[in-house]
Amino acid sequence: MSILGLLSQLMAIVLALALAPLLSGWVNQWRARLQNKSAPGLLQPYRALRKLFNKESVLAEHASPLFRMAPYIVFGCMLLASAIVPTLSTDLPLSPAADAIALVGLFALARVFISLAAMDVGTAFGSLGARREMLVGFLAEPALLMVLFCASMISRSTSLTTIVETLAHRELAIYPSLLVAGVAFTMVSLAENARVPVDNPETHLELTMIHEALILEYSGRHLALLEWAASLKLFAYSCVGLALFFPWGVAQADAPMALLLALFVLVLKLAVGGFALACVETLSAKMRIFRVPEFLATAFLLAVIGLLVNILLGVS
């Protein structure tokens, strides 16, 4: 592990913490513009976080320690997830500790804890949210894993840094399997980040909400952590998508100047990605909760088809 590696690892963590709310703000702003609303400022998520950190935290009377622990665990998982995804550089000391499968496990761990915390207070909406979250999760998780497997088959590795290095170094050819997997990945990340066709991040309409129902009982610092974790999750997912499908521009080991260039490229890619997400959210309508399994099953099948295409064409 080099000093530079340590530096890029620290930079990745700080960058994730700092940039994640900005990405959410960017997406919200574009969505408002596309929907002919007056847009909130780009820094609105930071203001919301500051507001929450200044407020009193109200706990339900019989909330157990699990309820108070969950926001920290979820935040920790999401931060670690953004730390191990190679966003700026492939020289990450933490990266060998968790590969693509462990990344999916990390997301699953956060999901299980937030669902358990939602069931802890014992309200109607909490358990409803937990059930729906697990419903989304049990199909999205294997679909995400299969998407990552598509990329691992090309690079013959599940290590995220190796995947990015191989994919960035190939010629500018389009792999048909990655194309299919890309569609599947987009669908999964919409569902996992509580975005429009599956869930609406802005709604508090009881019958349709998933993510908001989970965090309904939280307030003050706990809510701030969960909101921050949600934007970290969006950031981590975007970075996974960029790493798998647009890996160009990520710095290799021993190249200090490349890090700066990588930072610039990353911000550019995230800006375009955020705009695309806002477009998708504006153009699609929220679907009924029982259509969600069909939506996710399609993503799952697409990812498996991607794997099969991989083998059929003998790319690997």
């Binding site: 950190f53 200044n54 009193e56 935290s57 109200v58 706990l59 339900a60 009377e61 019989h62 157990s64 699990l66 926001p71 920290y72 665990i73 935040f75 920790g76 670690l80 060998p96 500790a97 968790a98 590969d99 499968i101 496990g105 990390l106 699953a108 299980v112 669902s115 358990l116 069931m119 802890d120 014992g122 309200t123 109607a124 909406f125 909490g126 358990s127 059930r131 419903l135 999760g137 049990f138 199909l139 998780e141 294997p142 894993l145 590795s157 599940t158 290590s159 009881e206 309904l216 009982e217 003050g220 952590l225 029982f290 399994p293 799952f300 498996v304 794997l307 099969l308 991989n310 690997s316």
Partner: protein
């Protein structure tokens, strides 16, 4: 066994036999002190747990040592018991010792006065069961194997029937016995094929035989059938969700944690050790059965409303996953790719150990809950984390491990299994290449669904508000129960955090079975789990945990720094609805509803819906196993019809029977004359 008089010259096998004898003595002591409850519970069971620890130590030290052989002059004349301790046996002895140590300690606090069979008798049955299970894995001839195998079946039958006054439990015991015997028939035939007409039933002889592919396949299929009946593989799984809830909880823990694994030991012993040939379609068959079993198990476990049934179906799922791993290993091994075969085998064996620990832990937790509340139905529990923290927190570790989440034991096994599936592109058959991503996808689906099940299990029992008034008076586990559950929980954590160490123990086993191992690749790095090469894949649970904890600490410090407000307790918000009560939470049925809807064709469901005009609206849904109606009942009907036809012969009049003798005599004379 020459040095039997001098303990200084004893080898591992002698000490293991000493543990067996000690257990049998404890069982007899239990019967002598039949009704002296304190002596049996607080005296015998903890000592027995110490012997289990001894067994664990012995098994670990015997793991790397060479095979040891012994001949015991018991049994019929000319048929002594042949015993043999090799690394495969040591591995399973390790599982037995590790799990039974925790379960025996738990049992010390579990059994109460005045429930069903007296504790002294349970103590006897329990220890005979433990002793027979140890002898099964060291038996080295078919005769000894079948004797101890049947002893295991009988002692477990009596334990299942501990509360025999309840008719459902009697039915469950009967079904268990029936399936056990159908399986034993398969085993007898299998050993018959394996000895290849030599008349010598020792395993050493069977290893020396080279069967033709046809007869080898017959033996393999019979072994999968016979051992599969005990392991709960599809379609012979029906006894499992009946017998597990019927048995007392410590014993359900042993049945699920250990006995199912012993059945898998049988499959391994026959297909990887006794049979010298390996054919590729055996692996495919085992994989197909395993996958079907695990999918079936996990889908059914999500919709269960009784806590032990839920865990029983989850055990079916896990056994299926292990079988898939064995099948993949067999497939690789048939094509001579030993390194990958070792990877798949390591994954499956890792799952064997970690499932043994977390499932026993979960079954013990149901026992503690059952004792504290008297309730087995999930729909009437809730909120127990507040009154029973000593049960809830260990169960959380068990549930997370069962859900296959990092950094616990279940995840390591799942990770290794998925890694081994990524290597299947090297298989020489293009058809198999196509099949395998589908299998990997289904395994990922099963793992995700087991997360759903565990959220349901833990959330409905321990979280939320108590769904019944009496739950607020429930008491926590007593100290023996706590010790037992903590031991098992520590096992789950250790298995999750130190995979390299555990793989080092598994290594001699894979060397024996597929003549390759992971230890060298793993030993290259002390903290990282690197099965093949660092570029290919790596995982480090310790660093992973440190990372999560560091992020946790960072978040905590951030909050301490940024946070200005205080904390206040208030009634729950719930969108401002003030009249909420505990019955507005999701029930167990409600939590399983999405799965029931998605996988509807798999179930046999009956629903009674209320109409708007009902005075007392009633909603009832029953979910049944369709195989029961498609397979078991038709077979039972055929058996009944056949026995009725045979019954026609029995007229009950002496003249008819005399006529039978007369006809038989004439037929015999005719035959003899020719």
């Amino acid at each position: 066994m020459d040095g039997f008089a001098h303990p200084t010259t004893w080898v591992h096998l002698d000490w293991i036999l000493a543990v067996v004898v000690a257990w049998l003595v404890m069982g007899v002591l239990g019967v002598v002190a039949l009704r002296r409850f304190q002596f049996v519970a607080n005296g015998l069971f903890p000592i027995s747990a110490c012997f289990s620890l001894g067994l664990l130590g012995l098994a670990l030290s015997a793991m790397g040592a060479g095979p040891e052989v012994a001949v015991l002059p018991i049994g019929l004349p000319q048929l002594p018991f042949h015993l043999r301790l090799d690394s495969l046996s040591s591995f399973f002895l390790m599982v037995i010792g590790g799990v039974s140590a925790g379960v025996s300690a738990f049992a010390a606090g579990y059994f109460r006065k005045g429930e069903g069979t007296p504790p002294g008798l349970i103590c006897l049955e329990y220890h005979i069961f433990l002793a027979s299970i140890v002898l099964v894995v060291v038996a080295d001839d078919a005769y000894a194997f079948m004797v101890v195998w049947e002893t295991m079946a009988f002692s477990s039958f009596f334990l299942v029937m501990a509360n025999h006054r309840i008719p459902e439990i009697r039915n469950a015991g009967y079904l268990y016995m029936l399936v056990a015997h159908i399986g034993a028939l398969g085993l007898l035939l299998c050993f018959g094929v394996l000895q290849a007409n030599t008349g010598d039933y020792t395993f050493a002889n069977m290893r020396a035989q080279h069967l033709s592919p046809f007869w080898a396949s017959v033996a393999f299929v019979l072994a999968v059938f016979g051992f599969g009946a005990k392991a709960g593989l599809l379609p012979l799984h029906a006894w499992l969700p009946e017998a597990h809830p019927a048995a007392p909880s410590p014993f359900s823990a042993l049945m699920s944690g250990v006995m199912l694994k012993i059945a898998l030991y049988g499959i391994l012993r026959v297909s990887f050790d006794l049979l010298q040939t390996r054919i590729w379609w055996w692996g495919v068959l085992l994989m197909a059965i395993g996958l079907a079993t695990s999918l079936f198990g996990v889908v059914f476990s999500t919709v269960q409303v009784e806590m032990k049934r839920l865990l029983a179906y989850s055990s079916i799922e896990n056994v299926g996953l292990m079988c898939t791993g064995f099948g993949l290993s067999l497939l690789f091994s048939a094509y001579g790719m030993t390194a990958f075969a070792a990877l798949a085998m390591t994954a499956a064996l890792y799952h064997v150990v970690s499932h043994a620990f977390f499932k026993s832990l979960l079954f013990c937790s149901t026992g503690a809950v059952l004792h504290a509340t008297g309730e087995r139905s999930l729909g009437k529990l809730g909120g127990l984390i507040r009154t029973m923290p000593w049960v809830a927190w260990p169960s959380l570790i068990g549930a997370l491990s069962c859900a296959g989440l990092p950094p616990f034991g279940g995840f390591v096994a799942e990770w290794l299994l998925l890694q081994s599936f990524l290597f299947t592109t090297g298989l020489p058959s293009s058809f198999l290449n196509m099949l395998v991503p589908v299998v990997a996808a289904l395994i990922a689906l099963v793992a995700a669904l087991s997360g759903y099940t565990m959220v349901k299990y833990f959330g409905v029992i321990f979280l939320g508000q108590p769904r019944d008034e009496k739950l607020s008076f429930s008491h926590d586990a007593d100290h023996w129960e706590r010790i037992g559950m903590l031991w098992l929980a520590v096992g789950c954590v250790v298995l999750g955090l130190f995979p390299n160490q555990v793989i080092g123990w598994i290594d001699p086993v894979t060397h024996l079975l597929v003549s390759d191992g992971l230890a060298q690749a793993v030993a290259a790095s002390s903290w990282l789990l690197v099965p093949v090469s660092i570029e290919r894949a790596s995982y480090s649970p310790a660093i992973f945990l440190l990372g999560v904890m560091a992020c946790f600490a960072l978040a905590y410090l951030l909050v301490r720094r940024l946070y200005k407000g205080g904390t206040r307790r208030a009634p729950p918000w719930d969108c401002g609805y003030p009249w909420q009560n505990a019955r507005m939470q999701d029930t167990a049925e409600g939590f399983g509803h999405p799965i029931r809807q998605i996988f509807e064709p798999l179930f046999r469901m009956q629903r009674e819906l209320p109409t708007p005009f009902d005075e007392q609206p009633l909603y009832r849904v029953t979910v049944e196993d369709p195989l029961w109606h498609w397979l078991y009942l038709p077979v039972a009907a055929v058996v009944e019809r056949c026995s009725k036809l045979i019954g026609l012969l029995q007229q009950g009049r002496i003249a008819v029977y005399l006529m039978y003798s007369f006809v038989t005599l004439i037929v015999v004379l005719l035959v003899v004359k020719q």
